[in-house]
Symmetry: C2
Subunit: 157 residues, 2 copies
DNA sequence: CTTAATTGGTTGCAAGTGAGACTAGTTTAG
DNA sequence: CTAAACTAGTCTCACTTGCAACCAATTAAG
């Protein structure tokens, strides 16, 4: 008969680990800056790309449902952390970018999050960290999770 | 200024990967057997330990909230997949175990899930898989996620 | 041109889940 | 023995989120 040890079962471990890490990080963006995960993802996507982009694009590259992104965008607009301008070519779509205020928050938050990540991974040696990242790369690629294109606003998509 | 590439940020990657893997697996336990994740976790814990155990124990070792486990137990009882007997020593607690029916389902499901896991990890070499598991070990330990004890029903806890 | 299909984005709804109150039973302290 | 502290499990509440219907704008087909 087949045996399964839940604690050696990778899908379970990934779930548990992701939940725990999210929880640890939420201390930073949630408690300190009042952002939830979808909001943080929008901020991160806009902050990393200096270019403006659409909600659709953010949804696709963060693999988050468009309704979730839509709600996050609404909140961030209300807080003045992002700005939205109509796209002159396609009047359905909007171009999103960080506001000056949002950029300030982003620049404050990033070092904290990177420190937290570093902290979590500090139990691994440098080589182990590289290997771990490499394994994630391969698994993501094989599951087709990778965003190969970073389309610019002009991209048809 | 600090830069953060969301796609190289481990917490984000873990979240996305865990969600994707869960989704892939749910095909098996959800679609085929009508179990959701908490229900599956209860089944897996009971199936792996031949011993009976309490809801509390399942909650602790799967790191799932006790109310979530409680609901899963209720559903599984109604479906006759598990059995519950009063604990003669402590009348607050119940001993849970798989029913014959539940055991049959478990034995059918396990090979499918293991195959799916193998499939997901097949993009890694044997050595990479070992390294990956090892890295998970270390991170889990450093985050104190590891269930060091497998308490038996007599355990005070 | 006109109609149908598609796409960006929003919203209502329902299912799932964590927090925490609550009940019942147990243990510890005095 | 009694009261206080604690624990197992259930339940209600609030919140999050995925789904699907929807609206408006755009593009494709006839």
């Amino acid at each position: 008969m087949a045996e399964l040890d839940l604690f050696r079962f990778v899908p379970f471990r990934l779930n548990r680990l992701a939940a725990e890490v999210s929880h640890a990080l939420s201390e930073e963006y949630q408690t300190l800056y009042g952002l939830d995960i979808p909001e943080w993802r929008v901020m991160a996507t806009l902050g990393f790309r200096d270019d403006a982009c659409s909600a659709q694009f953010i949804a696709q590259c963060t693999r988050t449902h468009k309704s979730t992104i839509s709600r996050a965008v609404t909140t961030l607009l209300a807080r003045g952390l992002i700005e939205r301008v109509e796209n002159s070519i396609d009047r359905r779509a909007f171009e999103l970018r960080l506001s000056r205020h949002g950029k300030t928050l982003y620049d404050e938050l990033i070092p904290r999050l990177l420190a937290k990540e570093k902290d979590i991974l500090s139990c691994l040696t440098a080589q182990e960290r590289r290997d771990f990242a490499h394994a994630l790369d391969k698994i993501e690629r094989s599951l087709d999770l990778v965003q190969t294109r970073h389309p610019h606003k002009a991209d048809a998509y």
